[in-house]
């Protein structure tokens, strides 16, 4: 019973690790450890990517990420990085409106 469960989890592994239990069990244990770790890492990686995407989008409009986020926070616009990167990709006109707002607030010496 247990062997079958392990070999089921080992589908797609390289070489004997997908067929032979004694090799598969090691790789499956490692895989499960990686899955545990990476469920937490996935959240970090996602945020990292959002920040890179927002940075690229704001730089296209002439402002950099750090200034953009700081001014948004000061202006009490609570859009999170997930939404902001989503806007930057799928709704560029909306994103430009945000950038214009930020430039306006910075022009008036918000901080």
């Amino acid at each position: 019973m247990k062997k079958q469960k392990i070999l089921q989890l080992a589908k797609g592994f390289r070489g004997r690790a997908k067929n032979c239990f004694r090799i598969a069990i090691n790789r499956v244990e490692k895989a499960l450890q990686y899955q545990y770790r990476d469920r937490k890492v996935k959240k970090r990686e996602a945020r990292k990517l959002w920040i890179q995407q927002i940075n690229a989008a704001t730089r296209q409009h002439g402002i950099i990420y750090s200034q953009f986020m700081h001014t948004l926070a000061k202006d009490n616009i609570k859009l999170d990085r997930k939404t902001l990167s989503d806007l930057a990709i799928n709704e560029p006109h909306s994103f430009k409106a945000l950038v214009d707002r930020v430039k306006f607030m910075r022009g008036n010496g918000i901080d």
Binding site: A46, L49, Q52, Q53, I54, A56, A57, T58, R59, Q60, H61, G62, I63, I64, N76, I77, K78, L79, D80, K82, T83, S85, D86, A88, I89, N90, E91, P92, H93, S94, F95, K96, A97, L98, D100, R101, F104
Partner: protein
């Protein structure tokens, strides 16, 4: 000051969408043009200002799914649709040039950037033999290589010697060091075209000139040409 497009978002929960932003578009490389499609944002019901000025509920009363992260589509990585850029290296500092080139090769100038996909463009570098370095690097910067991978057979040459021998390699080496290492990095490197003189065979691709953007802060950079090329209006 009246804001033409006003996205008011005072809390995470509410998003008031102006009708003018209802026609959403996605950033796309030149050639495909800007793709207009029904606003994904109107897949959910929201109060919006429609033409005529009145504020009413529009859209389907369906659950808003913001949890779908964007992953590059086929159009984003399509080689036929990639944007071509050109840089004139004459007199430019080597490292500062290479930084910008690698950014455009990788696609980090686009909001659709993804580290696992090739969303970048092609970059043509001309006058690579006239690229400049500061300090004493012209005579002191060493390039090491092996023809035979045995101890004691490493060859060295200075930057000026390499400039005599294979001038394109200076820029190529610099950019390659700034690209990710691996299969994707190797593919990105093939999108870099370096030429020693002012001539290049890529006129048909109508490359966008980004020479003026080297070392420029985004505030001072004139990005209109790049924005037009990638489809950001």
């Amino acid at each position: 000051m009246a804001m033409a497009h006003r996205v008011v978002a005072r809390s995470k929960a509410s998003t008031h969408r102006h009708a003018a932003v209802a026609k959403s578009c996605v950033v796309r490389p030149k050639g495909t043009g800007v793709t207009t499609r029904p606003a994904r944002g109107l897949d959910f019901a929201c109060r919006a200002t429609v033409a005529g000025g009145e504020v009413k509920w529009v859209g389907n009363r369906r659950k808003l799914d913001l949890n779908r992260k964007y992953y590059p589509k086929k159009e984003d990585v399509d080689t036929q649709k990639k944007v071509w850029y050109i840089v004139d290296a004459e007199g430019k500092t080597l490292g500062r040039l290479a930084t910008m080139v690698s950014m455009y090769l990788r696609g980090k100038h686009l909001p659709t950037f993804s580290p696992s996909m090739d969303t970048g463009g092609y970059v043509v570098v001309i006058n690579a033999d006239k690229v400049a370095v500061s300090g004493k690097k012209e005579t002191d910067k060493m390039y090491y290589y092996h023809r035979v991978h045995r101890p004691g057979t490493m060859k060295t040459e200075t930057l000026s010697e390499l400039r005599q021998r294979v001038p394109e390699r200076i820029v190529e080496r610099a950019v390659k060091g700034m690209l990710p290492k691996g299969r994707l990095g190797n593919t990105l490197f093939t999108h870099l075209k370096v030429y020693a003189g002012p001539e290049h065979p890529h006129e048909a691709q109508k490359p966008v000139d980004i020479t003026s953007l080297i070392d420029k802060k985004p505030k001072e950079a004139d990005l209109a040409a790049v924005r037009a090329a990638v489809g950001l209006e």
